[in-house]
């Protein structure tokens, strides 16, 4: 099982801070594509992905228990 976190406009779109689904064995790109289709995310091409709190590339393969977060362009400071 994997926890998937949403922030900012993605959270508003999903209506939840996080969901739990099993995506182990899939690549980050596959997970992004699946969720983008499911939720009809806007501006998803500028969204980065973090796996276990570290930025990841799209070809990283998800393992069981990995926490995945989608990171829209940040605006802190």
């Amino acid at each position: 099982m994997n926890k998937i976190l949403f922030f900012a406009h993605l959270k508003d779109t999903v209506g939840e801070e996080s969901i739990r689904i099993d995506v182990s064995g899939k690549s980050v790109a596959e997970v992004k594509s699946y969720l983008s289709d499911k939720y009809q995310f806007q501006k998803f091409d500028t969204v980065m992905t973090a796996v276990n709190e570290e930025f990841s590339s799209d070809d990283e393969i998800i393992k069981a228990g990995d926490e995945i977060a989608f990171i829209p362009p940040v605006s802190g400071g």
Partner: protein, 154 residues
């Protein structure tokens, strides 16, 4: 804890206190405050949200970058989350160094990097609406050493 995300108002002096050192002749602070007007539009208040555990790690990374690049530098950063009104303090960065030029440069590096890699977002609230703000640097902000998304798409 030199790198923090805080739900409560930030006490500037307490951030400064973390970087005081006998070897330092200069401490710079950057205090980011909520500005009323951006591009002529009047902000009522902001909401800041963070991926807190990762944000702390990224602030720590910025601290390490600075301590490696500017000799003798010591860094502390606290970023606020939640609702902030005009003139409220969103972030405090304190940097101490032996010599003053370094204290300015290292501090500037910290705020630029926060705007690139730290997972914190702000939602601006105006009289006629609200919006999550992104991409403030007006470029896509990919972390160092990671390929661009485009390069990964088939």
């Amino acid at each position: 804890m030199n790198f923090e995300i805080s739900k409560d108002p930030i006490d500037v002096q307490s951030v400064i206190d973390k970087v005081v050192q006998r070897e330092a002749g200069a401490i710079t602070t950057f205090i980011g405050t909520v500005r009323e007007l951006t591009h002529g539009k009047k902000t009522l208040f902001l909401i800041y949200e963070a991926y807190e555990s990762m944000a702390v790690k990224k602030l720590e990374q910025i601290g390490r970058e600075i301590e490696e690049r500017w000799e003798g530098a010591k860094v502390a950063i606290t970023h606020r989350v939640g609702r902030l009104d005009i003139t409220d303090v969103a972030v405090v960065i304190a940097v101490s160094t032996p010599h003053r030029a370094d204290a300015y440069e290292a501090n500037r590096h910290a705020i630029e990097r926060i705007k690139e890699i730290v997972p914190i977002w702000k939602k601006e609230h105006w009289e006629d609406g609200e919006e999550w703000i992104g991409d403030q640097l007006e470029k896509k902000a990919y972390p160092t050493g990671k390929p661009e998304e485009e390069d990964l798409h088939e």
